[in-house]
């Protein structure tokens, strides 16, 4: 019954979406305000209908109604409530419904928010949003219906893949989707600006918060994805350059470039076409991500497998790509730059540089990801590139970007000169040199790139700290405030800038974690008997045999091992193999003893003779904790920057012509 209702709601939503589209076109043709309001109501209705449909699916999942195929496939009676709910997005059909849900809610919010200054843009914004709604509703009703019946009576479901029974997998998909779908809003505004020949920065102003929040969700999604891979997959790392991982990293890179380059348009009226191109690319890349995951055209462990829906997404992607790029070319005359570069060394040109690197990194990752496809098509043989390619290419580019991140904030607007620049980065630069030397000599492995990255990280962090301190001093000088007053006034009056700095510092920490774990890996695998010890990186672990316990309905076999370092007992680790009732194969659960310095990462791989002998795999991942700390800093910084109210408002502009 609920299944019928859920499906019916989707069908009605699709009809309303098509109807609203027609009405919206009428509103543009006639200019009659009533059509506009009707379409607005229609978008509200779509959101309500898709919400009802989603609620129906949740209800079916929670009540374990196995007459629905989706419920049968991804849940079982014994599954805990939380994972029954998260099974909503465990499969293809459900995740598409989640996409449609987020999209319809975003669209309704955009269409119904009162923004007088966007009056001219809104009809076209709605139009673009409705096209997206229609497409995803079509996909979810006709190609991947989550309410399809099982066909036959079943007693219990097949259960949720144990790998997905991890807190990271509750948050990761939903945040990635909130991010992915969020970019449709700035895209829709950009298209509307192109159509209406509004060459100002209205579309950017109106969607700034959307863009930044979408970026934040995508960042969180990627971080949780990494955390999931780290704690669940048990191979010791957090990022494998898998095509599906790349698919969510790509729009992040271009969106990061976009967030930065729009600042130049806001202040200087430059980069107009570039910004349009960036948002188009970002939006198309979000579609590309869903295509990769659903088409199975590229070999990945995370893909859904080969299916016909791939063509559906490819078709839509192609359509939107051609339409938006065509529109941009057609309108390119309208979007003349208001200013030209005044100097090679200026804030403007440094932003151009950071954009080049970010987009370059995105291109390299994209190329590496689709190369098997392209080469198969051109030469008939699929040429693949492995993680070394991505590390060798993206590594240098992104670490250069990290260095630029340290320089950009201090470069002057319009015209800077070299002397001034050197002066303002001199002491952070000098202070970071000992860091390079220290890391180089302490590690003493002759490797140079890791110490260099540590140095860059130190440099960038110091520049930011210096900027904040100097800003405080200047403010206190200009206004005669106390230092604390000046500091608070400084950061709260321009939350955009200082929130951004906080995000930069978070990124620096994440970079440290990446270079720590990937640059200095220590790993050992050993088969031990009871009483034997394993030594790695100063730690001594003693194998004391296996124990068993039951948790909920899962059988857990674990090896509790005391960890000793420098003669001191640090505690113990207990890596597990978990036996889920519906799955024949046990799942590895990593045990991590973490600290600020490094993670001791222990996996119980296998055993024989009833646990007399066991094979243990241990990794030491230096600085790993800083990835999560940096991630939280990034979240706090972003929220600080966009939290509504004074100080999150637009920055001033340095344009010569009246705005």
């Amino acid at each position: 019954m609920m299944a019928d209702l859920g499906f019916l709601a989707l069908v009605i939503a699709l009809l309303v979406a098509v109807l609203s589209f027609v009405i919206q076109v009428l509103s543009i043709k006639t200019g009659d305000k009533r059509f506009m309001e009707s379409a607005r109501g229609g978008m509200g209705a779509i959101a309500i209908l898709v919400s009802v449909s989603s609620a129906a699916l949740l209800y079916l999942l929670v009540t374990s109604d196995f007459s629905v195929l989706y419920v049968y496939r991804y849940t079982s009676l014994s599954l805990s409530l939380l994972y029954k709910l998260s099974a909503f997005w465990a499969g293809n059909a459900g995740s598409l419904l989640l996409w449609a849900l987020v999209l319809s809610i975003y669209s309704a919010i955009v269409a119904n928010s009162k923004q007088e200054q966007n009056k001219k843009l809104m009809p076209y914004v709605n139009l673009v949003l409705l096209i997206n709604n229609i497409f995803f509703l079509l996909a979810v009703t006709f190609f991947a219906n989550p309410f399809a019946p099982t066909g036959g009576a079943v007693m219990d479901g097949r259960g949720l893949n144990p790998m997905l029974q991890n807190p990271g997998m509750i948050i990761h998909p939903i945040t990635v989707f909130l991010g992915y779908v969020g970019f449709v809003v700035p895209f829709a505004f950009a298209m509307a600006a192109l159509i209406t020949k509004d060459s100002g920065d209205l579309w950017i102003k109106s969607t700034r918060r959307w863009t930044v929040l979408a970026w934040l969700f995508l960042s969180i999604g990627n971080l949780y994805g990494a955390q999931w891979a780290y704690t669940e997959l048990g191979w010791g790392g957090f990022w494998a350059w898998d095509p599906v991982e790349n698919a969510s990293f790509l729009p992040w890179l271009t969106a990061t470039a976009f967030i930065h380059s729009v600042m130049i348009q806001e202040r200087k009226g430059m980069f107009k076409i570039w910004n349009m191109a960036l948002i188009i690319v970002t939006y198309i890349l979000t579609l590309f991500g869903t295509y990769i995951v659903r088409s199975g055209v590229i070999t990945s462990v995370h893909a859904f497998g080969v299916s016909q829906q791939g063509n559906l997404f490819l078709g839509f992607l192609t359509l939107m790509l051609f339409a938006s790029v065509g529109l941009l070319i057609w309108r390119s005359d309208t979007f003349k730059e208001e200013k030209e570069f005044e100097s090679y060394l200026s804030r403007e040109s440094s932003f151009l540089l950071n954009n080049l690197f970010l987009v370059g990194a995105a291109f390299a990752v994209f190329w590496g990801t689709i190369f098997p496809l392209v080469s198969n098509w051109v030469k008939g043989v699929a040429v693949t590139v492995g993680p070394p390619f991505f590390n060798q290419v993206a590594g240098p580019i992104l670490f250069t970007t990290l260095f630029l991140m340290g320089i950009c904030p201090v470069i002057a607007w319009q015209k800077s000169n070299f002397k001034k620049l050197v002066k303002s980065i001199l002491w952070p630069f000098i202070s970071s040199l000992p860091v390079v030397a220290a890391v180089y000599f302490v590690k003493g492995d002759g490797q140079i790139w890791q110490p260099l990255v540590f140095g860059i990280a130190a440099f960038t962090a110091l520049v930011h700290l210096k900027e904040i301190i100097k800003g405080t001093l200047v403010r206190s000088k200009i206004r005669g405030d106390s230092l604390f007053q000046a500091f608070w006034g400084l950061v709260s009056k321009n939350r955009r800038r200082y929130g951004g700095y906080l995000v930069h510092l978070g990124t620096v920490l994440i970079a440290l974690a990446i270079v720590g774990t990937m640059g200095y890996p220590t790993e050992t695998t050993k088969t031990v008997q009871i009483g034997e010890t394993i030594e790695i990186g100063g730690y001594t672990l003693t194998y004391q045999g296996l124990q068993e316990k039951m948790f909920e309905n899962k059988g857990i076999v674990y090896a509790e091992m005391p960890v000793v370092k420098d003669g001191k007992l640090l505690g113990s680790v207990a890596p597990e193999k978990v036996f889920y009732p519906e799955f024949e194969q046990p799942t590895t659960e990593v045990s991590i003893m973490g600290g600020f310095k490094e993670d001791l990462y222990v996996v119980l791989s296998s055993w024989s003779q009833g646990g007399e002998i066991a094979t243990i795999k241990i990794n030491i991942n230096p600085l790993m904790a800083w990835m999560w700390i940096g991630g939280y800093l990034l979240i706090i910084g972003t929220l600080f920057a966009v939290w509504p109210g004074r100080g999150s408002r637009l920055g001033p502009r340095y344009k010569s012509r009246p705005a």
Binding site: M163, V301, V306, P372, V381, V383, T587
Partner: protein, 133 residues
């Protein structure tokens, strides 16, 4: 030379540098995606290439050597079979009774008739949607 031209040239230099980085890294880490049948039938062609191979694991062939930390198993594409050697621990789900879908990366030893894998990944089992549709 105008400023604009100079800026464009500067940008081109950077783009070229990134392109160079891509091309050089490419040749050092590119490999081929081939089928098991290709390997078994004309393996000598791929002797030194880095390869990506997909196949179904025959669960009864999985042999785990705990003293030397290595696992051997046989994969099939439905036509041909190919033995695999992996010097690491057994990945989760490798000996799944339905036969796990494995993605192997490594090199093919034509003389020994064995695939030496650097990495073995098993596909997320609940995502076998296509197999059932």
């Amino acid at each position: 030379m105008s400023k604009k031209l100079k800026m464009t040239l500067g940008a081109l230099v950077i783009v070229a540098a990134m392109g160079y980085l891509m091309i050089t890294s490419f040749s050092s880490s590119a490999g081929f995606q081939v089928s098991i049948s290709d390997l078994v039938e004309k393996g000598s062609k791929f002797q030194d290439d880095y390869l990506l191979v997909e196949g179904k694991v025959l669960p009864e062939t999985v042999v785990w050597d705990s003293t030397n930390i290595k696992v051997e198993f046989v994969v099939t594409d439905g036509v041909n079979q190919m033995p695999v050697l992996f010097n690491d621990v057994v990945p989760d789900n490798l000996d799944h009774e339905d036969g796990a879908e494995a993605i192997l990366r490594g090199k093919y030893d034509h003389d020994g008739g064995i695939f030496r894998a650097d990495s073995v990944e098993t596909r997320c089992p609940s995502k076998y949607e296509a197999a059932e549709d």
